[in-house]
Amino acid sequence: MSGKPSVARIYSGFARGTDCVISELEVSVTPGIPTFSVIGLCDSSIRESHGRLVSAISSAGFKMPKGHVTINISPAYMKKSGSGFDLAMAMGILFASGQIRFDPERKVYAEGELSLDGNVKGTPGAALRLNKARNSGFSCILIPEEERISARCTGFEGQCVKDLAEACSVFGYKGYTPEHFDLGNIVQYPAERIDISMLKGQEKTRRALILSAAGFHNMLLLGSPGSGKTMAAGILSGILPPLDSDETGEVYALYEAVDGTSARISGERPIRSISPDITPGKLLGNTVSMTPGEMALANHGVLFADEIMEYPSKVLDLMRKPLEDREVRLFRDGISYVYPANILFVGAGNPCKCGMYYEPGSRCRCTAGTRRRYLNRLSGPFLERIDIFSEMRSIGKEDMALMYADGKNAESPQIRERIAECWAMQKERYHEKTFNSCFTSANPADSMRISKDILEYCSELASKGLFSARGYQKTLRLARTIADYEGHSDVLKSDVSEAAVFRAHEL
């Protein structure tokens, strides 16, 4: 053997937050006393792979080369972890030692963890990695059989392998036989949802839910215990249009990274409920493990915060920035990690300490002072993120009876279709996937088709104290959504007045 080491190149990937990096593995085998070293800021889960590699290679009928085996995983300055490099490392060793004939022109991507008997197993975050690998121009992609579902969600081409031997046969007698993965019919839609007709006699909340869904407007529901606030969140999932295929993939990828392959694949928008005891790490994401938080998991869906008054104000204020930017930003080691968080925030809570403020009669026993102190738990800047306010009351006897008497005709499907149309209108108007609630522009009135006298009317309403001056923009946006839902091409006066009803609140 000459002094020139034989080097093989192969590719794999690892996830960093929701961001994925494709890494190049260089494997060199040089003669000498057998050593094994992995370099490139790898943690122990990668360094430990030596044991798995030795056993798996011999199980597949090959031999671990005798000599210095050095594996360099680039980019070398990034910290890496996970056992997903095993397959690529094993293949690289076999290429470098000449046990498998290897065409250097071929760009090979491989991922998967090896077991001692040579089987290839999937690792979390597959969907994220495959999404990246899909577009990186590999001529050959090998993934574990277990990652088939993730592959289908990202919609790419490659080959699934069961064990190391099968992976090697791709370069031998069998050849590379890629298959195309797509979603097909694996997406499930839940059949049973709470229908919006359950909100009989609560017209305002009903309308609030519809508008909130139609324009992705953040909403705050205040009402007594038992008035159906939690149910309202369930209803919302029934009137939101299903995820499109890109979104399904995105949502699945994130869930897969957290829950592994047991994650659901659903066309339904995620509804994440959080409770007041949530930690900042759980809400925004853990900066040590880089697990996405609830805000990221609710991407393209709903984040429902029940008992919003009980949240420590610190936690609520943490949500302010993500709600504004529509993304969660985490910092670790001076690097920022971005999780998209295009969420519809729904808060629900009591209107006062005893909760009976909106109930008929005088059942509330809070004084004005107690009530104000109670409501002060929501900070002004936080409330500024809320577009729709609605109060809820426990429903009356007649409505209760009516609700169960003619509860059969579901109204949600129709409303859902209408909302899907509204979304299409907004997409056309803003030429991108933006909703009325988050559209930003120097002069929004133009693109929203709001005429000057409507603007004047709106300022008149503001000056009469129907809503605060800072709620002016919000009112216009909401009015635009109402106009969309009602099918008005220009925003009408009546749209603005209705929007004003949802902005009127005593917080």
């Binding site: 006699g201 609560q202 017209e203 305002k204 909340t205 009903r206 309308r207 209107p351 403020y357 909106y358 109060e391 009351r393 008149e460 309403l461 009469k464 129907l466 109402i482 009602e486 006066k493 009546s494 007045s497 209705e498 004003a500 009803v501 009127a504 005593e506």
Partner: protein, 411 residues
């Protein structure tokens, strides 16, 4: 409109009073000495030679003034012609104390003008005597509360057939006229300037309505500008014409207080709307209450006062003709109308106008404040319609949002 000779003499009388120094004292002296029996005789007096006048035994000052007037009679006649010309153009009629239609309330008081000029429905003066009248006056920049109360009292009283008398100023006066006109009640506006002179000009539209359905009165001749000093005198007429006076809001130095003191000195009931003692613009009204005016609590006490005045008037003037009985526009009529709108809302909801819906909403809210969900159910209207109407009502100050419920405006 052509004026009779008597009417021409009425104009002439006013011209004398307006253009010469012949004031009420001179006129009274002429009456006392038997020189004239009626103000119309002034016209004939001007034709007499000066030396004849010397024999009447007038005091020196009066004599000087009368001679001055007779010497400048040409000027007086020119003014008189000018008045008649303007009056003719604007359809203004003249009523003097010689006419049967001269208001009884003026006749029984001293110091009331002998000649008044009117524009509009003169029959209202008769109705005013037969059914009673109430003056509703107050501040020009009144609070929401006062305006609300004015609206309620004016419409309730006028629905009882009582004529609403006011001064067509901004604020309370305007509201009072509007409320009376809205309910097809009768209303009389007494102006400080000539009856053709719209003051303030913001009330042009209201003036037209009053000319159409009500009556404009002035003691000033046609064409006369409303001068500052005429306003207290006008307030005297408002108090004089009506059977009782309602003060809705008056600041410490408000002109409204003149009306109140005239009414009190004429022996008429003065009602004052109670208000907060910390509210600056209510000081004058509260002082009146302190001085013993009646507290305006409900329409009932006002109606009592008016009916007592009517009875007294009938006893003192047995010849007073009864106004042909009008269909009482009372509460049952209001109820009937509501019923009609309800029926319409049930059968053909599309034909119901916004104003009619507003009436229904206000009726629903009159019992107690309701939330928007309740209103939706009660009226069977879709949410977006209800919200539009409610915001409109909120904007016009008829409804407020309190504790998550909509309530009729109070304060």
């Amino acid at each position: 409109m052509d004026y009779s000779e008597d009417e021409m003499k009425d104009f002439y009388y006013t011209a004398v009073r307006m253009t010469t120094k012949t004031d009420y004292r001179v006129v009274r002296e002429l009456f006392d000495l038997g020189v004239i029996r009626s103000h119309r005789d002034m016209y004939d007096l001007a034709g007499r030679p000066v030396n004849e006048i010397e024999d009447y035994g007038l005091s020196n000052m009066s004599f000087r003034r009368v001679t001055e007037w007779i010497e400048s009679n040409g000027k007086v006649e020119r003014a008189c012609e000018e008045y008649m010309k303007i009056a003719k153009e604007n359809g203004i009629s003249v009523i003097s104390c010689e006419n049967s239609s001269y208001p009884v309330n003026f006749r029984v008081l001293s110091g009331m003008p002998k000649v008044i000029y009117c524009r509009g429905d003169k029959e209202l003066l008769k109705r005013c005597s037969a059914k009673g009248s109430a003056a509703i006056v107050g501040s020009r920049n009144a609070s929401r509360y006062a305006l609300y109360a004015t609206d309620r009292f004016a419409s309730d009283l006028s629905s009882q057939g009582i004529t609403i008398v006011s001064g067509m100023a901004l604020g309370v006066d305007r509201k009072a006229h509007e409320a009376a006109l809205k309910g097809n009640g009768s209303t009389i506006a007494i102006l400080a300037g000539g009856p053709d002179n719209i003051y303030p000009s913001e009330n042009r539209e209201l003036y037209k309505q009053i000319v159409g359905k009500g009556l404009i009165i002035s003691e000033m001749p046609p064409g006369q500008q409303p001068l500052r000093q005429y306003f207290p005198s006008r307030n005297r007429l408002i108090a004089g014409l009506s059977d009782c006076t309602l003060i809705m809001e008056a600041g410490a130095n408000s002109g409204t207080l003149h009306t109140a003191s005239f009414a009190a000195s004429q022996g008429k009931e003065v009602f004052v709307l109670p208000n907060s003692i910390y509210f600056e613009n209510a000081e004058g009204g509260l002082k009146l209450l302190e001085d013993g005016c009646c507290v305006l609590l409900s329409t009932d006490s006002v109606i009592d006062a008016v009916s007592q005045a009517i009875i007294r008037r009938k006893m003192e003037n047995p010849g007073l003709e009864d106004e042909p009985e009008m269909k009482p526009a009372d509460k049952t009529a209001k109820k009937e109308e509501l019923g009609k709108i309800r029926l319409k809302a049930d059968k053909t909801p599309d034909e119901v106008t916004d104003e009619e819906w507003n009436t229904l909403i206000e009726d629903e809210l009159s019992a107690k404040p309701l939330d928007i969900d309740n209103l939706c159910r009660a009226l069977g209207l879709p949410f977006y319609r209800i919200s539009e109407l409610l915001v409109g009502l909120q904007l016009s100050g008829r409804v407020v949002l309190e504790n998550g419920k909509y309530a009729l405006t109070f304060l």
